[in-house]
């Protein structure tokens, strides 16, 4: 009796799972009660589904979701408290769309070879974390956005890693957004904000994009502790701040960018305590920027530190590695002012074709002369209190002997001396 019961029990279990195994994703979702948790099977799902109730969906170890339709694989619509966790998406147009929903969490999603990743529309309290997304190869125009958020509030993007898409993180008409610890590489724009109000972007790493952070028609943004390096394309920049207001950029590290901060019609921005190293141009102001302050930054190894087309901005208490003044009273600030204005830099802002001459022999000479004549400059791009010592630490290189280059060097040296002596002696 007992054995028979067990047998039937197991049989039913097996048949239940096997039937359930054949369920479509949508059927599985529909079978799960509101507020319940659905764990997906270790198989490939080739379909799209819609979620309209509070639910938690967890992916199995080998679960793969994909679809060949234009629609997103999962659409979350008119609901709240939905959590997606540990799902894997492959080769689809889009993974997840969130529409008119509240309290949505996307956790540890993985996406490979996707046209685009997640779209959020008209929603509130959305949290996306630990997501990795790898887009497609090819032209930016043929790719979609990584994580895109439209008309939403209280959105948090955290610990995500997006690469090879058009815009890694796109936020349009959003309010109160936090973007933290994310990585964006090899995309057109790393973070792209449009018509946004209340932005916190912190500890993000943006590398090898066309532009690191593109901030357009936005206000009240804090961009802090980000690392922005090697934005090195034809029109690249670390930050592009266009038509923005009340922006604070601090403690960021810019290295190896074409232009570290490019700003146009920027109002009331504070750029402080950043490190600009080895950029072609560190900061460029264009088109009547107002009330902008550049203070306590380190400028090291940039070809041009600050250039502007005549816009007004306050510059003080920065460190410049090409400042040649002295500090006789030892107050930590130079005795003479630093003039960042360079005629050539100004020309380059106005006429891009001048770019060809960047740091060419003739321009270097010109800049030397400039430095003498510009000492009398009073208003434009002048730092009255240049700092003598950089605030950050640059001496983090290790010194090891490089045997190969040493050997080659000695060989060349010895050879040269031998040839010389031999050449002089014959005859």
């Amino acid at each position: 009796m007992k054995i028979r019961f067990l047998f039937v029990f197991f049989l039913s279990l097996i048949s239940f799972t096997s039937i359930a195994h054949a369920d479509t994703l949508q059927q599985q979702i529909d079978k799960t009660p509101a507020g319940g948790t659905l764990t997906l099977f270790d198989r490939d799902y080739m379909e799209t589904a819609v979620i309209k109730k509070p639910i938690t969906i967890v992916g199995g170890e080998k679960t793969v979701l994909m679809s060949d339709s234009e629609k997103p694989v999962l659409t979350i619509e008119n609901t709240q408290q939905v959590t997606l966790k540990g799902l894997r998406f492959l080769q689809s147009t889009s993974a997840v769309a969130v529409k008119k929903s509240k309290k949505i969490t996307l956790d540890q999603l993985e996406m490979v070879q996707m046209f685009s990743g997640v779209q959020v529309y008209d929603s509130e309290q959305v949290m996306i974390k630990g997501l990795t997304l790898r887009g497609l190869d090819g032209q930016y125009a043929s790719k979609g956005y990584g994580l895109a958020v439209y008309r939403s509030e209280q959105v948090t993007l955290q610990n995500n890693n997006v690469t090879l898409v058009q815009d890694a993180y796109y936020l349009e008409k959003t309010k109160d957004v936090i973007v933290k610890n994310n990585v964006a590489t090899e995309s057109r724009y790393g973070l792209h904000f449009m018509y946004a109000d209340g932005i916190k972007a912190e500890n993000n790493t943006l590398q090898r994009n066309v532009t690191g952070i593109m901030l357009m028609l936005a206000k009240n943004a804090t961009l802090r502790h980000n690392t922005i390096s090697i934005q090195w394309d034809w029109n690249s920049s670390g930050f592009t701040l266009y038509n923005a207001e009340n922006i604070v950029a601090e403690h960021n590290i810019f290295s190896g960018n074409r232009t570290a901060i490019l700003s146009q019609t920027l109002k009331n921005a504070t750029i402080r305590k950043n490190v600009f190293s080895s950029n072609q141009t560190a900061i460029e102001f264009t088109a009547s920027d107002e009330d902008n302050v550049v203070t306590d930054n380190d400028f090291v190894g940039n070809i041009l530190n600050i250039r502007s087309d005549g816009s007004d901005s306050k510059i003080h208490h920065n460190y410049y590695d090409d400042y040649d003044g002295t500090d006789l009273d030892e107050d930590g600030m130079g005795d003479t002012k630093y003039v960042a204005l360079q005629s050539f830099g100004q020309w380059m802002v106005r006429e891009p074709a001048y770019q060809y001459f960047i740091e060419s022999p003739s321009v270097v000479l010109l800049n030397r002369m400039d430095q003498q004549t510009n000492k009398v400059e009073q208003n434009q791009l002048v730092d009255d209190t240049p700092v003598i010592k950089p605030t950050s630490n640059f001496s983090e290189r290790q010194n090891t002997i490089h045997i190969v280059s040493l050997l080659f060097g000695l060989l060349m040296l010895g050879g040269a001396i031998y040839l010389w002596r031999k050449g002089v002696r014959i005859g």
Binding site: S229, I230, N235, I303, A353, H402, V424, G427
Partner: protein, 268 residues
């Protein structure tokens, strides 16, 4: 002719000028490789790279032009050339030997200088000498030596040769660019772009500078305006064309020198 080249070379190496230049180069390169240690670990066109490039562009042509042209001019002035003409050697043979001797001695100086850089960077473990720079200096010596021979033949005496080579140097490195930049204030951006592209081909210094950006894969430095132009040269055919045109910069000055000298010979 081989003997003549050897003799010329010996003379080159013995000259005080040459030894001074060698010393100067070694000191400068050593200084640069030491300063480089302060550079930041970023690849690409940084200010350090730019100053290194500019130093090469400024100094190497200057010395090649002056020393080379003065050597040729002094031959003619002192009657050494007249004496040589009594030997069974063609005018071109003479020019060619002269050219080879100049190139060889400058290559020796470069070998010395690069040896210093590599040794120092080997000891400190910093900054490898980019191959592009080595190639660029080779091109530079090869092209400007030819121009130097041409200047020397054109000159009446050594002083004239010196001033002539200084004029050529200033034109290539500075004046051409200034004229262009001034022109840019009058004409449109597109026009400035075209004129600049034409100028790159007409000015060996700019040509080599452009070559640096091209071969180091940093054409984006030149700005988006030159996208089409750099795309064209960044292909196999482009590289080929670059070498051919650079070869022309050697052949043309030498043949002009040959032509002038043969005409002069008839007049004398």
């Amino acid at each position: 002719m081989g003997l003549f080249i050897q003799m010329e070379w010996k003379q080159m190496l013995r000259s005080r000028w040459m030894q001074l230049v060698a010393l100067l180069f070694v000191v400068i390169f050593a200084a640069i490789s030491l300063i480089q240690q302060m550079a930041l670990p970023v690849d690409g066109f940084t200010r350090q790279m730019a100053s290194f490039l500019n130093l090469l562009l400024f100094l190497l042509p200057l010395f090649t032009l002056t020393i080379g042209s003065m050597s040729v001019a002094s031959d003619i002035e002192s009657g050494w050339y007249a004496l040589l003409k009594t030997y069974p050697m063609s005018i071109f043979g003479y020019l060619w030997s002269k050219y080879v001797a100049i190139v060889a001695s400058f290559l020796l100086i470069l070998l010395l200088a690069f040896g210093i850089v590599l040794t120092i960077s080997g000891i400190t473990g910093q900054m490898q000498l980019p191959v592009v720079f080595i190639v660029l200096s080779l091109f530079m010596v090869v092209i400007f030596s030819a121009l130097a021979v041409c200047c020397g033949v054109l000159a009446k005496n050594r002083l004239h040769a010196l001033s002539l080579s200084l004029v050529v140097w200033a034109l290539c490195l500075l004046l051409f660019s200034y004229v262009l930049m001034a022109l840019g204030t009058v004409v449109s951006g597109t026009m400035l772009k075209y004129v600049t592209i034409v100028m790159i081909h007409l000015n060996p210094a700019e040509w080599l500078r452009f070559g640096y950006f091209m071969f180091s894969g940093q054409t984006t430095v030149l700005g988006p305006a030159y996208y089409g132009f750099t795309e064209f040269y960044s292909s196999f055919f482009g590289y080929f064309l670059f070498v051919v045109l650079s070869g022309l910069w050697v052949v043309l000055p030498l043949s002009i020198a040959n032509w002038i000298l043969s005409k002069k010979g008839r007049d004398v």
